[in-house]
Amino acid sequence: MNQSSVIAKVSENDQELQLTHLERVNNITPFVEKIKETNLYPLKSKDIKIMQTNVGKVCNMYCKHCHVNAGPHRTESMNLETMAQCLRVLADTDITTLDITGGAPELNPHLPWFIEEANKLRRRVMVRTNLTVLSQPEYTHLMELYARHNVELVSSLPYYRDKDTDKQRGQGVFETSIQILRDLNNLGYSQKQSPLKLNLVYNPGGAFLPPAQHSIEADFRKELRDRHGIVFNNLLTITNVPVGRFLTFLHQSGNLPRYMDKLAGAFNPLAADRVMCRDMISVGWEGQLYDCDFNQMLGLNCQPGHIREFDLAALQQRHIELHNHCYACTAGAGSSCGGATA
C-alpha cells in the first residue's frame, strides 16, 4: 500500500477529520443556516416508521463511493445480543420496516436468524445486498432464504453497462451481478403476480448529480431486459453523499468545493421537508442510534444514544443532527435510501 492509500484509509475512518473537511468548504452557506432560511428549523423527527440497522462494515467489495468505508479489511459486525435488542424494539413499537444494511449484510453470520425473527413479528424486511456476495458458494443459499421470508431486496447496480459499473465497484462486478439478478428472477423476484420485490439502485459514477429517476429507470429497464433478460421492480436514484471514501475522493481529487457548490446550489426545500431521517432511526453495529447511516459514519449520535435505551416518544421529538453533507439529500429531486423524494 502506498503512502497516499494509507492517508486515504486514515481519513476515511477519522470522523473528526471528515467533519473538518466538510466544515472547511467555505464557498457554500452552511447547511444549518440554509435550513434556518426555511420554516423547517430545527429539523425534527416526525414518525419513526423505519429501523435501518447496519449489521457490520465487513464487505467482499471495496467501492469507490462507499460512505461506510466498508471492505474486506473491516471486522466490525453486529452481535446477536444487539440484534435481539433491535427485535425487542420492533416488537414493542409500530415501526413497520426493518431495513438491513452494511457492509455486506450477508457476511454477518447472524443475518438468517435476524431475518427469521423479524419475519415472525410480521414486519417488512429489506436487505441491501451488493449481489456479488451471493455468488460465493457459502452465501448462495441466502437467496432462497430471502425468497422464503419475502425479503425485499435493494441491490446496488450503478449502471446498465459493465464498464461504468466495474469502474466504480471493481472488475467483473457487473457480470457477476447480472448472473445473480438472473438467479433472483428465477426464484420469483420481480415476476408478475409474485410478491417478491427487487429494487435496483443507481448512484452517479463520480462527482455529479443523478439523472431524473423515471428517465434512467426506463433506460435500465430496457437495457437489462433486452440485453440480459432481467426484470426488476423499481430503480432508485441515490446522490453520492460526501462521507467516507467518497469524501476522501472529493478531497484528494480537488472536487470537494465544486461538488458541495453543486449540491448547495440545487437545494430544494421540498426535498428538505421529505428527508428520510425524519421517519427513520439508524442503528450502528454496536447498537448506537443515529438519524441516518451517514450521520452514523460521522459519529453524530442521537439521544437517547443506544438501542437498549430506545425511547420512541423521545426519539420522535428529537432534533436531527445537521451538517454540510445533508445537502446531498436535499439537492434537486432529493435523495434517500428509497430513492428520489421530491
Binding site: 464498464k163 461504468d164 459514477g205 428517465s215 434512467i216 433506460d219
Partner: protein
C-alpha cells in the same frame, strides 16, 4: 500559468449581462426555454449541445454539457458518438467544399 481560458471564469458568465441587462434577461429566458423537454427530451438536447460545443470549440460549454449529459444518465460511449457526429459534419463540410475547388480547377484549366 496564465491562460486565456480559466475554468473559474464560467461562474462569472452572468457579469456579461451587466451593461445590457434587458438583452441578457431575454437571452437567459430564451436559453432556459430551449433546453426544456419538448419535442426533443432535455437529454437529447444536452447531447446536441455537447456536439455543438465541440464544433464551436468552447471549453466552457464542453465542461457544462459533459457534466449535464452525465447528470442526464448519458454514458461516455453515447457522448463519444455525439462528438463523432459533430466531427463527421465538420469533416464533411470541409470535404464538400472540394466541389468548389474542383469547379475552380475546371474553370481555370484547359
Amino acid at each position: 500559468m496564465e491562460t486565456y481560458y480559466n475554468p473559474a471564469d464560467l461562474a462569472k458568465f452572468a457579469t456579461v449581462g451587466e451593461e445590457s441587462p434587458e438583452l441578457w434577461k431575454k437571452f437567459m429566458s430564451y436559453y432556459g426555454e430551449v433546453f426544456k423537454d419538448g419535442a426533443l427530451t432535455s437529454r437529447e438536447k444536452a447531447l446536441i449541445a455537447l456536439a455543438v460545443a465541440h464544433v464551436v470549440q468552447c471549453p466552457y460549454c464542453i465542461e457544462a454539457y459533459t457534466e449535464d449529459s452525465l447528470e442526464k444518465g448519458v454514458n461516455e460511449e453515447q457522448m463519444t458518438e455525439a462528438i463523432h457526429v459533430a466531427s463527421a459534419i465538420r469533416g464533411g463540410a470541409t470535404l464538400v467544399h472540394g466541389v468548389q475547388m474542383k469547379n475552380i480547377i475546371k474553370k481555370l484549366g484547359f
